[in-house]
């Protein structure tokens, strides 16, 4: 198979590493003999999870065939290179929606499984794995293993959230949820500070299926952690009017604009972000009552701006996402935001969410509590030192960092954050005794060394 040596990066564009790329056209070519292998879907993890410096990276983008779609039961089976965008285009017009979706449609199903992604409904429906009926895992040597929560359960729980380190995910079978329309009934509430934001998130919990808060990361003092809580539920057909009611599952095509090239590094600075946030807070926080949004606008607002990662310039950005157990979550988030404020480091997008109970997967990120995600332009040592300080806060409160977003966590912190690592490693050794599957992330975090 032809190979291409190329410098590639994750969505945050930090770090950039040289990998040997292969791009199979067919499922049968997913496996190839190489000393080190890693599958990569759409490259939407932020750091080095989908990098394999000096090793082989298997691009799965062309292994994207739908294999079965049961329109009565809402069960779809596909090759793992299929993206959520392709899935939505197929299933929404037939009245089916993914049970769990992350904040972009441009992710592969394999990537959703490998990172066990979550959505705005984690507190209701769990992580992506709760919608996975079955997986096909291609393990070392090219062996094909069917696994699910019932069959080969250990392999399944090690693969879900396993960051591609147990093998190549070949096929995914999903249970979808029925919808009557492609619209979401949304409601916004402004919160003047972090405590109010927590209170609103907790209150809306019971009644709204989807719930998320935008946080103004540049707010200071009494307004620290101000934000807007955004709730939503799938709209029933009779909540729509006019033409929408006649064709509730047909949406006008989304308009997508493109960031054509790298923006200068200074574009997103403290001043410009503060100005944007103030305006955003006023506009989104003042929308009263409930209103209808199409699902694209509600779930994937950033997808309307293609290549938005270029806004951060050549040096890229890092996303820091952590989760902290409920008991001290408010205190932990306050400490994180205070440290950020004290550092003077710019930070753009902030998102706070409630999470429900953890699943059974060994390395899955979600746990019952609150999760905060922050996008920070990469400014070298200053950024890295700040994030190390964040780690100590998160550890102190018994939380963890999301590997799909990570580019810089230390091995000791990783082990403290993921107590089931040793069990995961045992299952992985059975599946891949010679350690063929590895990534830049797995080597950086010492996942190859004995727990």
């Amino acid at each position: 198979m032809n190979t291409l040596n190329k410098d590639i990066a994750g969505w945050g564009r930090y770090p950039v590493q040289r990998c040997e790329l292969v791009r199979p056209e067919r499922h049968a070519e997913l496996w190839s003999e190489a000393p080190s292998l890693l599958a990569r879907g759409q490259g939407r993890s932020y750091g080095d999870a989908a990098l394999n410096e000096g090793g082989r990276v298997v691009l799965t983008e062309r292994v994207n065939r739908f294999l079965a779609f049961d329109r009565e039961q809402g069960i779809v089976r596909a090759e793992a290179g299929v993206t959520l965008a392709e899935l939505l285009a197929l299933t929404v017009p037939r009245g089916w929606f993914p049970l769990v979706t992350p904040g972009t449609r441009h992710v592969s199903l394999g990537g959703c499984v490998a990172a066990d992604v979550h959505g705005k409904n984690h507190h209701h429906d769990g992580a992506f794995s709760s919608s996975v009926r079955e997986l096909e895992l291609i393990t070392a040597g090219g062996r094909r293993l069917r696994c699910s929560a019932q069959e080969n359960a250990a392999a399944f729980q090690a693969t879900v959230g396993g960051m591609g380190l147990t093998g190549i995910i070949g096929e995914v079978e999903l249970q979808l949820q029925p919808i009557e329309s492609g619209y979401i009934r949304a409601r916004h509430q402004a919160a003047a500070h972090l405590e109010e934001l927590f209170r609103l998130l907790q209150e809306s919990d019971g009644d709204a299926r989807y719930s998320v808060a935008w946080v103004d990361l540049m707010s200071r003092g009494a307004a620290l952690g101000r934000g807007v809580v955004m709730n939503g539920d799938h709209a029933a057909r009779d909540e729509l009017s006019g033409g929408r009611r006649l064709t509730p599952l047909r949406l006008p095509p989304a308009r997508v604009r493109n960031i054509p090239c790298n923006m200068p590094g200074w574009l997103l600075n403290g001043l410009s972000i503060r100005a944007f946030n103030a305006q955003y807070y006023r506009r989104e926080g003042s929308r009263s009552g409930s209103f209808l949004l199409d699902y694209d606008t509600f779930f994937y607002p950033l997808d309307t701006l293609a290549n938005w990662n270029r806004l951060y310039g050549r040096r890229g950005f890092v996303q820091y996402q952590c989760v902290v157990p409920t008991a001290t979550a408010l205190e932990a988030m306050r400490q994180l935001l205070q440290r950020l404020a004290d550092s003077g480091h710019p930070a753009f997008l902030g998102v706070l969410k409630r999470m429900g109970p953890a699943g059974a997967a060994y390395l899955s990120f979600p746990m019952e509590g609150y999760t905060l995600a922050m996008d920070l332009p990469m400014k070298g040592a200053a950024t890295l030192a700040l994030l190390d300080a964040f780690d100590s806060v998160v550890l102190q409160h018994g939380g963890r960092v999301y590997l799909a977003k990570d580019a810089r966590l230390a091995p000791a912190s990783f082990r403290a954050m993921y107590p089931q690592f040793a069990e995961w490693q045992r299952v992985r050794r059975e599946l891949d005794p010679h350690g063929v599957f590895s990534s830049s992330l797995s080597r950086r975090l010492g996942m190859e060394e004995q727990a």
Partner: protein, 246 residues
């Protein structure tokens, strides 16, 4: 219901692009090739995405004496064919072919002899029916012999000449023949090759093939500007051309 189309060498990336464009227009498809498991997956995907009937089956291009029975089986399953796309081919290695005649023969057979065997049969059937099309994927490599790929170029050039003759023969019967000459297309064949520029996606190339068939075109270059690149390359005088490292 639009007519049925047979795609030979259906697992190639360009064929997949064309199949998607035809399926989107409601055509029923028969996917043929060697790798039946891959064909099964392609057929399922097209049927699910576009809601058309997609059949598939094994086709061995090198087994010429099976071609008549194969075509009979396809017509039995699909009814009369609307058209045929021939998308199989073999790039091989020129370096190997220079020293190993078996490689040269493999290149010539797959790109020319095998194609003639099956298209002769398809041409008879379509001529009798009095309408339809044949589309064949040749190559810009067939427009002028170059040291880097002249065996492949010779076979593809012969195939292009064959299609030209077929076009002439079938014109009175109302059967159109399209010759497709791809330049650089982003497929497994070109992956990792140095010196590529303005590479076209196989999805776009597939869609171009389908519109070219609809418009009754004779010869297309994809992407279109390759027509002019090849015009320049063909116009270089031979006494100069033979000195170039191409």
């Amino acid at each position: 219901m639009s007519g049925a189309i047979l795609i030979l060498g259906a697992t190639s990336a360009i064929a997949r692009g064309a199949a998607a464009a035809w399926a989107q227009r409601g055509h029923r498809l028969y996917l043929a090739g060697r790798d039946v498991e891959s064909l099964r997956r392609d057929a399922a995907d097209l049927a699910i995405r576009y809601g058309v009937a997609v059949h598939f089956g094994a086709f061995d291009a090198a087994a010429h004496d099976t071609h008549a029975a194969f075509l009979q089986r396809v017509t039995d399953e699909m009814g009369e064919l609307e058209g045929v796309l021939l998308a199989f081919g073999y790039l091989g290695s020129q370096a190997k072919a220079a020293g190993d005649f078996r490689e040269a023969l493999a290149i010539i057979n797959r790109n020319f002899v095998d194609a003639v065997s099956i298209l002769n049969l398809c041409a008879d059937q379509l001529e009798q029916r009095g309408r339809g099309f044949i589309a064949g994927i040749a190559s810009v490599a067939g427009d002028r012999g170059r040291q880097s790929n002249y065996t492949y170029g010779a076979a593809k050039g012969a195939f292009a000449l064959y299609l030209q003759g077929l076009r002439n023969r079938l014109f009175p019967a109302g059967v159109r023949v399209l010759t497709i000459k791809p330049g650089f297309v982003d497929t497994a064949m070109t992956w990792g090759m140095p010196g590529l520029f303005l590479v076209a996606s196989p999805i776009d190339v597939g869609a171009r093939i389908v519109t070219a068939v609809e418009r009754g075109r004779d010869v297309i270059y994809v992407p279109w500007f390759w027509r002019y690149i090849m015009l320049i390359i063909r116009s270089i005088p031979e006494r100069l051309f033979k000195r170039l490292k191409l």
